[in-house]
Structures are given as structure tokens and as C-alpha cells.
């Protein structure tokens, strides 16, 4: 069945000609957050790899005189000639390709700042910026065909987490929270930050706890996509102020939950520790085990012998 399908596909492929799929892939695809929306030359400006396949119209032959250009737009389509300001990059197609083929897997490398600049998008806007990225195949300056993709610059932040709780664990705090409602931007992960209290506050902890009491230079953080996290690496008996940030898919952090929640890790015993603390004398391991295991395997071997004879 599979062979038959492959045979039919092989026979039909040449006839299909220009009907082959065209595509444009941007890597990484985004969305990109506020921290990535920076001026050219900034180290945080992400490099984008473009890879596309695009075909000229039926009957056309690619060669000298044909060019492609990469265009960035915030409005309008890819099928018309753009304003010169929107053109990010151009190149001439040197090779003469036979009728029926097209330049597959062509690539280019740009920066996000190139797209923002040429599309007219703004990094200071309060709403997400969606940039349409076009690769246009030109013949004599006219757009012959094109392929497009979108890149989103996410400028909003998720809601501030609410209902934060911090229960003591062994050298850890078990922190839980809920999503706030002050933003429509979805949170895709959360960052939990526990900061030890400054010595000046330990004797008289204000209620509610204030950020001024937190030793932010010695914070311990953890991330999760859930609404709870066991944040380890803390010190038993030390009071911590806990804050939670929500993070969007573009990497934008919300403001921290407020006020900080107080939590103090305490030593605990798991089941084994509890058993030992109450005088249990089981040693674990296989102290009495090897003989039992050997006997089990010996009888299993005996059973297999029976099986072969029957």
C-alpha cells in the first residue's frame, strides 16, 4: 500500500510543478519580549534565521534579473511592492534554474531590530506589535510571488500573582499562588524569589512585610509552569520574604506579588526519618535479601526447565 502511494506521488510530482509548497520559517519564532526589543548593536538584540522556499510563476525561469527581498510590515500584504523603507534586505539570484524548479532552502540572517526599524513598529507601545515578514521574489522590480510569516513583539506583562502562600519545609518553602486579573497577557511560567530578611528587620518584622526588609542580594529563585513550587536551597530557621513573578511567553515579567509573604523553613522528617526517630531498627538495603533473591531466581530457572521439557 505504501509503495503504491509512493509510486503515485513520484509520478505526479513533476506534473505538479509549481504547485509545490512554499514556506517561510523564522527561527527562533518568538514571541519576543520587551527585553529583546532594543536598538541595533545591543547584545540583547536577537538574531533571526530565515529559511524559505518560494516559486516563480508557471513558465518563468529564474536567473539574472530576478531578485528577492525581505520586507517587514505592520500593515498591508506581501503581494504588492512595499515602500523602500520596509525593505530589510535584498539579493540577486545568480544561478539560472531550469523551468519547474525553484530556490529551495534559501536562507538569510537578520536581527529583530531590523524588523522593528523597517516595519515602523515601536518598542515603547503598550500593545503587542505584530510584524509581517515577507520574502518577495521580484522580476524587473515587480513582485512576482511572495511568502510570509509573522513575528510578534510582546510588550505587555502578565497579571501580578495573588494569594501567595509559603509553608515551611525542610530547607525549603512550599509556595503556592493564583493568577491575578489585571492583565490579559497570559502567564506561561512563574518565578519565585525568596529573600532573607535584613538583620535590622528580624527583631521587629513589620506587618505587612515590606520590600525594604528584604536582602535582595541573597535571594534564592526558582521557576515553574505550575501554580506551586517547592523552593529548596534555603536555611532552616531563617525568615524569608517570598515574592512571585508571572512571566509571559515573550519573557516579560509582571511586577512582583505584594506584599512579600513571610516563611521560615523548618527541619522535617520523611517516613524513613520518622521510623528511625521512633526507634525503628530496620536497616534497609538487602541485608536479608540476597538469599531470598537467589531462591526466587532458582525456582524461576526450575520453572523454565519444566517449560522446555513439556
Amino acid at each position: 500500500m505504501l509503495r503504491r502511494a509512493l509510486l503515485v506521488a513520484a509520478l505526479l510530482a513533476p506534473a505538479a510543478g509549481w504547485a509545490q509548497t512554499v514556506s517561510l520559517t523564522v527561527s527562533p519564532p518568538g514571541p519576543f519580549g520587551k527585553a529583546a526589543c532594543v536598538a541595533a548593536g545591543n547584545a540583547n538584540d536577537p538574531a533571526l534565521s530565515l529559511s524559505w522556499t518560494v516559486a516563480p510563476p508557471s513558465g518563468s525561469v529564474l536567473g539574472t534579473g530576478w531578485t528577492y527581498q525581505v520586507v517587514a510590515l505592520t500593515s498591508g500584504g506581501c503581494s504588492t511592492a512595499p515602500a523602500q523603507a520596509n525593505v530589510v534586505n535584498t539579493a540577486t539570484i545568480q544561478a539560472t534554474l531550469p523551468t519547474g524548479s525553484y530556490p529551495a532552502g534559501t536562507t538569510d540572517t537578520l536581527h529583530l531590530s531590523d524588523l522593528v526599524t523597517h516595519s515602523g513598529a515601536s518598542c515603547t507601545a503598550t500593545t503587542d506589535q505584530t510584524i509581517t515578514l515577507c520574502v518577495q521574489l521580484l522580476n524587473g522590480g515587480s513582485v512576482s510571488t511572495s511568502v510570509s510569516a509573522t513575528v510578534t513583539v510582546q510588550l505587555g506583562a502578565p497579571s501580578i500573582p495573588v494569594g501567595v502562600g509559603a509553608s515551611p519545609g525542610d530547607s525549603a518553602l512550599n509556595v503556592s499562588w493564583a493568577d491575578g486579573t489585571d492583565s490579559t497577557v497570559a502567564a506561561t511560567s512563574y518565578r519565585v524569589e525568596a529573600s532573607p530578611l535584613l538583620a535590622s528587620c528580624v527583631g521587629a518584622i513589620p506587618s505587612p512585610l515590606t520590600v525594604a526588609c528584604l536582602d535582595l542580594n541573597n535571594s534564592v529563585t526558582g521557576t515553574t509552569s505550575n501554580h506551586s513550587l517547592r523552593l529548596g536551597g534555603l536555611t532552616n530557621g531563617v525568615a524569608y520574604g517570598v515574592r512571585v513573578y508571572a512571566t509571559s511567553s515573550g519573557g516579560n515579567d509582571s511586577d512582583p506579588s505584594s506584599p512579600p509573604v513571610l516563611g521560615t523553613p523548618q527541619p522535617t522528617r520523611d517516613f524513613w526519618g520518622q521510623y528511625v526517630s521512633q526507634g525503628g531498627t530496620e536497616q534497609g538495603g538487602c541485608a536479608g535479601g540476597p538469599a531470598g533473591l537467589v531462591s526466587l531466581l532458582a525456582v524461576a530457572g526450575l520453572l523454565l526447565t519444566f517449560r522446555r521439557r513439556s
Partner: protein, 244 residues
Amino acid sequence: MTPRLALTAALLGAVLASPARADDGPGVPSTGSFEVRVGNYRPKIDAQAGLTGSPGPYQADFGSGRPTIFWAHGAKALPWHAAGTLELGLGVGYWSAKGHALFEVSGLPSSDRTTFSVVPTELTATWRLDLLWERLSIPLVPYARASLQRYNWWVTGASGATTKSGATNGYGYGGGLALVLDFLDPMLAREQQADSGVKHTMLTVDLQKTKIDDFGSSSGKSPTRSWDLSNTKTDLTFGLLFVF
């Protein structure tokens, strides 16, 4: 060691329960069986002599529940068939209890989690009085069973890492009653035998008394005596048995 042992037992069990030939007719001795069972289990850890404080450590961490235990069991019939069928088999199971770690100072439950898990394995000898069904067409098959058992266990702490593991050996004995489902639809039973080699399908009620304490060392005076993983009650499990 524990996963390797469980895998070995499961594979051996599957190999032992080989299907019979499709042309086996009624009255032809069975060649083996495969069974799945479920029941409830609570280890008798808190009954160990010398433990201080009340409640015991198991009760303190996991409460009074009796979590479900699952068993899979494969057996090979011996070439002997007089008043019934004698089988030797291997079984493997799984059981886990989840609870909260306790604060060292107050002894109260914390938000840290702890688990106690067991993969029990067993070597069994089962005598099944199947003549009631084979000769008298009474769809009930009583059976008796004795076993050597090895409970492979491990404890995890709040981080999910294993804090202690080991194995405790013991034995069990008991019996049960199987209801032969073939009588509900004999035609279907014959088709099933022709298609899959399953001669009989039975519902089982199984009662076992276990003693899982490394063969009595838990009652000794040695400071390294084992704990007792026997069930606090007689093991009552319900299962589905396929006889090949």
C-alpha cells in the same frame, strides 16, 4: 535493583504463561495461567516491638488508609493432573502510600511530601481443584496457594529523591475461590480458546496470610532486626484469571 527485579519477574511471568494449542479440547490439562488482582494493603510496620511514641511512624505519616495494591501473576502448570492442577508461578505487584513529612520539633504534619512504595514479588505454588468444573460442570474452582515473597521497597522525601531502599523477604499461604465465567456463554468460551488459547476465564477471590519480616528476624532481640511488611489484615484480593 528494584526495577530490574520487577522487570525480570514480569518477563518470567509472561513467558511461563504460554498459550495452549488452539486444538486443545475440554478436559485437556491446562498449560499455565495469567492473573491480575487488586486489593488493599497496609504494612504492619507500627506493630514492630521497640517502637516508641504513638501513633507509630506509618500512621503518623500516612494516616489510617489502606492503599490499593496491584498484582500480575503468571504460572506454569506441572505435568501432573490428578484431582486438580498444580502450578508454579511468579508474581509482581505495585503499591505506594503518600503522606506528609512531620516537623522534627512539633511532630505536626508539614507541607513536605513523603512516599513509601513497594514492588512485591512472589514465587507461588498453586493447587487448583478444577475437576468440579471439568467433570461436574460446577463453575466453581477452589484453590490453595503457598508463596515465597520478597517486598522491594523505597522511601522518598520532599525533593522526590529516594532516602532509603531495601528488600524484605517472607512467605504467604491461603486460598481462594474462582468463578468460571465460561458457563455464561460456552460458545464464546470455545471461540476464545480457538482464537487466543485461553481455555477458561475466571473471577477470583483470594485470601492470603502473609508474614513479610525476613523470616522472623523482626521478633528477635538483634538491634538490626527487620520491620514487618505483612498486611495488617488477611490479604483479600479480587482478580481475573486466564487459564491456558
